[in-house]
Symmetry: C2
Subunit: 190 residues, 2 copies
Amino acid sequence: MARPSLREKLASSAVDTLHTLGFKGCSIQDITDAAGVPKGSFFNHFENKEDLAIDALRRYLEGSRPDMLFDESVPPLERLKNHFTFLSERLIANGFERGCMLGLFSAEMAREYPRMRQELREVFDRWCSGVEQLLRDAQAKGEVDPRHDAGQLARFLVNSWEGATIRLRITQDRQPIDDFLNVAFKALLK
Amino acid sequence: MARPSLREKLASSAVDTLHTLGFKGCSIQDITDAAGVPKGSFFNHFENKEDLAIDALRRYLEGSRPDMLFDESVPPLERLKNHFTFLSERLIANGFERGCMLGLFSAEMAREYPRMRQELREVFDRWCSGVEQLLRDAQAKGEVDPRHDAGQLARFLVNSWEGATIRLRITQDRQPIDDFLNVAFKALLK
């Protein structure tokens, strides 16, 4: 098997380093040390740390199974619940210290890094559109009250999820996730 | 009028500096420069940057009018709406770049700063308790469905609010706030 390229080694290791320490909490040296590559090699592969963080965000999202939102073999509301349950399990497996990379980079980087902000904008917009489409299907099938504004409800759910992932950094337990799943699926989407 | 003490000058200026740049986005030098005090004076007044950030968080919260939650001259649900509307107006007045200091420090600091994490835990717990008490009053008065678990709903609302303040760093507009207010008060707490 071919050895991973140095770029690949750097980029895949950086997902964990950036997620754990935060963008402002680690230096390029921390990232190259964690990847076991020479610091000098960084700029052969990435323009700057923001460039690498955008790459890390894309890799992180590949692991979030966006395809689950669009799997029409599962009824819409059950599919949405599976989606957030999958994200919950991933968060818990990561320990309660890391939260969601989207919320972390939004808090740390939106102000000073317009390329990252634009990337995050597109990621959130795609995610919200997927949830909105699913909610419309659920409304068409009578699973969700048709009086809800599907776009607004989708944005609210995505933002509330992000809030739960921020709060669990503080509680260090799964209560914020359970609160989200219970209120979203038992009170709001009944 | 007495001149503010050097400590007061440093501490009150640091609220803005930390809120704008983030804890990891500014140095002690940035903070003393912004306050117009000598860098060397910092350690006469604060043990370290975390100590100052905890002081800044307390000052920030004084401006969030927690008393509004407990003003029994206003019916509970209207009081809750006034509370979040007041927070919304403050966020918007700050521009869309700063979000809420609680969410910012939670994202940046919870992992490595146990004293700040403990402080944030107490702040969130007090806030959630206040909202829970209010929701119980609203349920007793028939304003909110008594089948809701008031504690869970209070935590969900607070966390969802935090999520909205994270998202508006990305959208740079008030849509996340409006989504929160509309879904919370028109769909959930009807």
